[in-house]
Symmetry: C2
Subunit: 338 residues, 2 copies
DNA sequence: ACTTGGCACTCGGGAACACAGAGTGCTAGG
DNA sequence: CCTAGCACTCTGTGTTCCCGAGTGCCAAGT
């Protein structure tokens, strides 16, 4: 059905179209790529490819353009991820190494990725869910309010102000703090709720209301932040490209946490594998015309979160995939080290 | 030189051009606005206004368009800030009231402002400089590393990992923490350096190297973050407009912290006053064609930071200014209350 | 002295049109 | 199964033409 040469033709079409942004015709194809066949032959193959929906022509007698299905085949079978140059690797390394805290790591990552791919980069903050508690801190603000701070092993810090049901003096706060820390230190955030359920009973009866209040805020924090924080950068790279759907829709989608979330995708299968979503495969209507290349990252074996790149369907997939994979690896290293 | 009617004509031109986005001609002007003069008279006035550089025509015999100078006059003398509707006020209030922490406040603010003005909103995080220390926390991570956390009265949290020169056990950490807090609690960040200068001497000699390390990180934190964090939202609102300079430049500018910083502007005179920068008055070349409306905000009398809106020169200044002013006030309230 | 109506003038933008060129599909021959 | 040739079909571009909005100026009116 699709012999080797037809595949070669498809590959050539994708490559040419990506680099020129113009529909590619049979003659140019036969010349530029060493197919060793005549344009007429190429035309026959193209007709077959079009028949099966891999390419299409914008209007009669213009060149051919890959369809989403064509890109899909290209990504799955005709391309291989292109590794970065060693210069690029060094650049990544030094750039990421300068980060001072988690915010900084994420910010540098997203900018780096945007610059590397010349597209829009999207990075999700490391999930709380898979982190462990490193420290819990209670800071008295006034006699009826205190600030609750949760520090995780990935360097993330969550903070909330808690209104207390009663006045509480510092020594009791200190005691509570000690209890909380001894109970929670090192335990996974997902197991916090069960660890904490019988905590009030182990406290003197007069401390229980306060403890309950604090715990409810703690649990709320864990739940609230289940919708994780996501940042993006490189919107300027969209300026040149033209989308079927209009630039506005794309920008709007980028500012919706929820949409970004679904874009990066639920971990499908192996978390460290590259996920590619092409055009209409996309869950969000405003983003037909764009493709997403994403992957998970995380220290060691656990996947902490995901990052990726969004660009026009007409993108250089091998290069983009290479960049995404490389950046994910380096970030994972950095996070593991801290 | 510029009698009342000429000013009225200028105002009418600005208003019409802003709402229609098309050069406005003498006939339409005389009709729509009740100037009670003939088109010919209007033409004479327009000629005078053009002579003095307040308006210009894109090409011979098209309507007139305000110049930057024209907008400037309009803003300074011909318009008055338009207050928000009470519905809008309520919306602001409820939307901002739901914020749980500082990040949340800033995020909600910037989105709110973008939505309200249908333009790009820019918000600077409350400056560390004018805040005071609420608490300092030291969290042991391993025997040679600890996390240093600084909490300010505006709810901002700064964190750094500190590599220690020697192994240190928990009791000494606790002692250091107590010292730091008793010394720094409540004191303004700007005065931290002097407060801290003689601290090592008040410690047992064996703690001094460790204390010095921590203090140097503390001071570094204060300096580093002098370049404040800035966020923006509403980039999608740029999609429709066309800039003389190209959308790309605008988006690029928005991703440069430094540029944004200068955009919001150094506090010129009264911090709570509205600053308007129109087109070429702008410090950054890529942003000719855009105007900025900004103002300071802060709890009480101290200005903490600035926020504002960026849009095409052709914007509805009275409405935009009203929205910026209102949001700044509400944010100030929220911050003061927490 | 200012306002007004009249008038000739200027341009930009859209419609109509022709044309060159790229690209195609088809068919017949190797 | 590949190839060469050929007729056909488009798009994009350049040209021309014309309409109309809008102007500037002038002379007459208040």
């Amino acid at each position: 059905m699709l012999d080797d040469r037809k595949l070669a033709v498809l590959r050539a079409i994708v490559e040419d179209y990506v680099s020129t942004n113009e529909p590619v015709g049979s003659k140019a194809l036969a010349e530029r790529h060493s197919l060793n066949v005549s344009p007429a032959t190429v035309r026959n193959d193209m007709a077959a490819l079009e028949e099966q929906g891999y390419i299409t022509q914008p209007h009669t007698s213009a060149g051919r353009v890959p369809t989403d299905k064509g890109y899909r085949l290209f990504v799955d079978r005709l391309s291989q991820v292109k590794p970065l140059s060693s210069a690029e690797r060094r650049a990544i390394e030094t750039f990421l190494a300068g980060a001072v805290d988690l915010d900084d790591v994420v910010m540098r990552t997203v900018r780096l990725l945007a610059q590397l791919t010349r597209q829009v980069a999207v990075v999700q903050y490391p999930a709380l869910t898979h982190s462990t508690v490193r420290h819990v801190e209670l800071v008295p603000l006034s006699d009826r309010r205190l600030m609750f701070v949760l520090i995780t092993n990935t360097g993330r810090v969550e903070q909330r102000v808690v209104e207390l049901p009663e006045v509480i003096e510092d020594s009791r706060v200190a005691h509570l703090r000690a209890m909380l820390n001894s109970c929670l230190d090192g335990c996974g955030l997902s197991s916090v709720p069960e660890m904490v359920v019988d905590l009030p009973e182990r406290l003197p009866v007069e401390d229980r209301p306060v403890a309950a209040t604090i715990l409810s805020v703690l649990l709320e924090t864990l739940v609230d932040r289940h919708d994780e924080k996501i940042v993006f950068a490189g919107a300027a790279n969209l300026a040149g490209a033209d989308f079927t759907t209009g630039l506005r829709d794309v920008l709007e989608a980028l500012e919706e946490q929820v949409v970004l979330m679904r874009l990066l995708g639920e971990t499908s299968g192996t978390p460290s594998a590259l996920t590619v979503r092409i055009g209409s495969e996309n869950p969000y209507t405003g983003l037909r015309g764009t493709s997403i290349v994403a992957t998970g990252y995380g220290s060691g074996d656990k996947q902490l979160a995901r990052l990726g790149v969004l660009g026009p369907t007409r993108m250089d997939y091998p290069v983009t995939m290479g960049a995404v994979r490389a950046v994910a690896r380096y970030v994972s290293q950095i996070l593991a080290a801290s």
